[in-house]
């Protein structure tokens, strides 16, 4: 389905396409391909019973997620960086933002070496020091937390328009039905935060199709109701996704307030590795292409890369992921005897220092 598009959207796309550099297109392609390869490896590990729990792949959504990732700025020495709360189908964006395939695999295998130390798994991972909030399962919970980080930065004077750090998260078509998302978007609009929500409308919420998730004409129509700026894009198209997501992120950086991008695409797998998605109608499958295949074809057709270059890139990425899997599999599992099982960071509430200068530096 081509998303409904205004003349303004179409002009933005034309102008934006011209502004996409070869480097950006190639970086985007690289992250989309890497996400696909990481997902395939996770499924191999799942199928050989090495993953406790399920695997949720981004299949069909890599191009959209990569368009988020290439426009983000990871924190670094002296750089505050963006704040990103990825959901289950944002693998490409996570990788582009700095998550390593090794940490992805460690978390899926429950290794103590991973950022979640075996305490949480699959897509529930992130590293606060790297600007990535680890999602909780409950859909709709992350946008307000991203808003909290941005509010904290505003209070500290760290939102520097017109080149500010931004906060970004995504939600599925199903997740748009939550009350939590409604509350969060309203607060974000009131506070005029530099925030971007990417709505990945992959047509289905587990097994429930759009007609049972919402009744509005198009989810992008909700943007104006909250006081957000809305963008639409074809989430299977690299250029379209780069222009819309990149445009929204740039606008937020400039201080133009919160943005919402609604991308249309299709989940090309089951909800998770346990789901064969037999409920997915052929009619939907016929309507949407595979963004990763389309992006490769477009890159070849536009002369961004030649076949030999693409083959070499794929081989490089596969080797990277293979090595990460080999490393992770050799690493330690958490030891129940040695885990501290500590749930509070305060070691002893009977001996906690009070509100002194040391306690509140």
């Amino acid at each position: 389905m081509t998303p409904s598009r205004s003349i303004g959207d179409a002009m933005r796309l034309l102008a934006g396409r011209a502004g996409l550099s070869r480097e950006l297109r190639l970086a985007h392609l690289r992250w989309a391909l890497l996400a696909r390869i990481v997902d395939d490896r996770l499924l191999t590990l799942y199928n050989s019973a090495q993953v406790p729990g399920n695997v949720f792949t981004s299949r069909g959504q890599e191009v959209l997620a990569a368009a988020m990732g290439v426009h983000l700025r990871a924190p670094g020495p002296g750089a505050i960086g963006d704040i990103f709360a990825p959901l289950i189908r944002d693998q490409a964006a996570r990788l582009a933002f700095g998550e390593t395939p090794l940490d992805v695999i460690r978390t899926h295998l429950g290794k103590v070496t991973g950022p979640m130390r075996g305490r949480d798994g699959n897509a529930h991972r992130g590293e606060l020091a790297k600007g990535m909030l680890p999602m909780i399962s409950h859909l709709g919970a992350m946008p307000s937390a991203v808003a909290g980080v941005l509010l904290a930065r505003r209070l500290r004077g760290a939102l520097a328009y017109p080149d500010s750090c931004i906060g970004i998260t995504s939600i599925g078509d199903g997740g748009t039905a939550t009350g939590a998302l409604h509350e969060a978007l309203n607060v974000i609009a009131i506070e005029k935060l530099p925030f971007v929500l990417v709505v990945a409308n992959n047509q289905v919420s587990y097994s429930t199709f759009n007609d049972r998730s919402f009744a509005c004409r198009d989810l992008v129509d909700r943007a104006i109701g909250y006081g957000l700026r809305g963008w639409s894009c074809d989430g299977t198209d690299a250029v379209d996704s780069l222009v819309a997501v990149g445009g929204a992120i740039a606008a937020a950086r400039r201080g133009e307030g919160p943005q919402m991008v609604v991308a249309s695409l299709l989940r090309l797998a089951g909800h998770g590795s346990h789901d064969d998605a037999r409920y997915m109608p052929a009619e939907l499958k016929a309507r949407f292409g595979d963004g990763v295949e389309l992006a490769q074809a477009a890159a070849l057709a536009e002369g961004l890369i030649d076949q030999a270059g693409l083959d070499a890139l794929l081989e490089e990425l596969r080797a990277l992921v293979r090595a990460a899997a080999d490393t992770a599999r050799g690493e330690a599992n958490p030891d129940p005897e040695r885990d501290d099982w500590r749930v509070l960071s305060t070691p002893d509430l009977l001996a906690m220092p009070g509100p002194t200068a040391e306690a509140n530096p």
Binding site: L133, A152, E183, V343
Partner: protein
């Protein structure tokens, strides 16, 4: 000079805002000349206009915002207009705030202020006690101050604490409880410590929040009219429990009654009794008893309301049955 419970809370908020630029307050109707439904923030937005922020009606998002700000280095204090509405924030509190340190190793130092407890004529949705259901989830500190000095110091300590703290403040005490002097000059007890408010030898009486005052008057009656010496313990912090202080007292008295204004099923008294039964069974001379509210929603009509919540007379009766066992 006297200070009321709500004035102590306001003083603690004001001092925390003054001393620590990381502190900000977020909640409904808290800013401007209004200063909150119970006036706990009155005058604070004039002094700190950027850090006393009015929120729309969205307890889930208010809590999510606090979580994000806390992990980014701030010290948010959120105010729920009534503790009853914290149920809307249940998910963010128990699944997000409570799990953050355990999952990530990064503390989540937020304070959620919950004006709780019964006041006459307020009914089923403005009187509830949230401490039991929030205490059930590992990762939250849940406190319920009963005195003016504790209202001040426990709030200061809650804000200084690196963990998420559920601060249950009793609405009846706001303006009914006054103590002489400035609470800043009162003794600061550790946030997690229970304290013996009255020493005694025949029976231990455990409580927290406003019910402490019913226990203290019951103890007076028991002493004067029945010659029964009661040791009254104020839990102060209901999660984690200071079990050492409880067990020490039970070792002395061999008898225990636990009183709460909350419902009986799965409540704080049930937990206290379970700890005593499993760790100090050999010290007991009588079965531990609970005194709780009637196990129905909270009625609005004053006679029904009075019969719903426990009073000193109910506690006297429970203690007498325990010592006569």
């Amino acid at each position: 000079m006297t200070t009321s419970y709500v004035e102590a809370i306001r003083a603690a908020l004001g001092d925390a805002l003054r001393d620590d630029p990381r502190v900000f307050i977020y909640g409904q109707d808290i800013a401007g000349s209004f200063g909150g439904a119970f006036k706990a923030t009155k005058g604070l937005s004039e002094l700190h206009p950027e850090r006393v922020i009015n929120a729309p009606i969205c307890e889930d998002a208010i809590t999510g915002v606090a979580i994000g700000a806390a992990i980014d280095g701030m010290r948010p204090v959120i105010e729920f207009q009534f503790a009853d509405f914290a149920s809307i924030a249940f998910n963010q509190l128990v699944n997000h705030a409570a799990t953050t340190f355990w999952r990530t190793g990064r503390p989540c130092p937020l304070v959620a202020r919950l004006p709780m407890g019964g006041t006459k004529g307020s009914g089923p949705f403005h009187c509830q006690m949230p401490e039991a259901w929030l205490s059930h989830h590992p990762g939250l500190v849940v406190v319920a101050p009963a005195t003016v000095a504790d209202a001040y110091w426990m709030l200061r300590d809650a804000i200084a604490c690196d963990d998420p703290v559920i601060f249950c403040e009793h609405k009846y005490l706001y303006n009914h409880l006054r103590e002489t002097g400035d609470p800043r000059l009162a003794e600061r007890l550790p946030l997690g410590a229970a304290v013996v408010r009255r020493a005694g030898s025949d029976c231990t009486l455990v409580s927290y929040s406003a019910m402490l005052h019913e226990c203290l008057s019951a103890a007076g009656v028991l002493e004067q009219e029945h010659g029964v010496s009661v040791e009254v313990i104020d839990l102060r912090c209901v999660r984690p429990l200071d079990t050492a202080t409880i067990l020490e007292s039970v070792a002395k008295t061999g008898r225990v009654v636990v009183a709460t204004e909350a419902w009986p099923f799965g409540g704080i008294p049930a937990e206290v009794v379970a700890v005593i039964a499993s760790e100090a069974f050999h010290l007991l001379d009588a079965p531990p008893r609970r005194v709780c509210a009637v196990d129905t929603p909270i009625p609005v009509q004053p006679d029904l309301y009075a019969a719903h919540r426990p009073h000193a007379a109910d506690i006297v009766e429970a203690v007498l049955e325990t010592v006569r066992f």
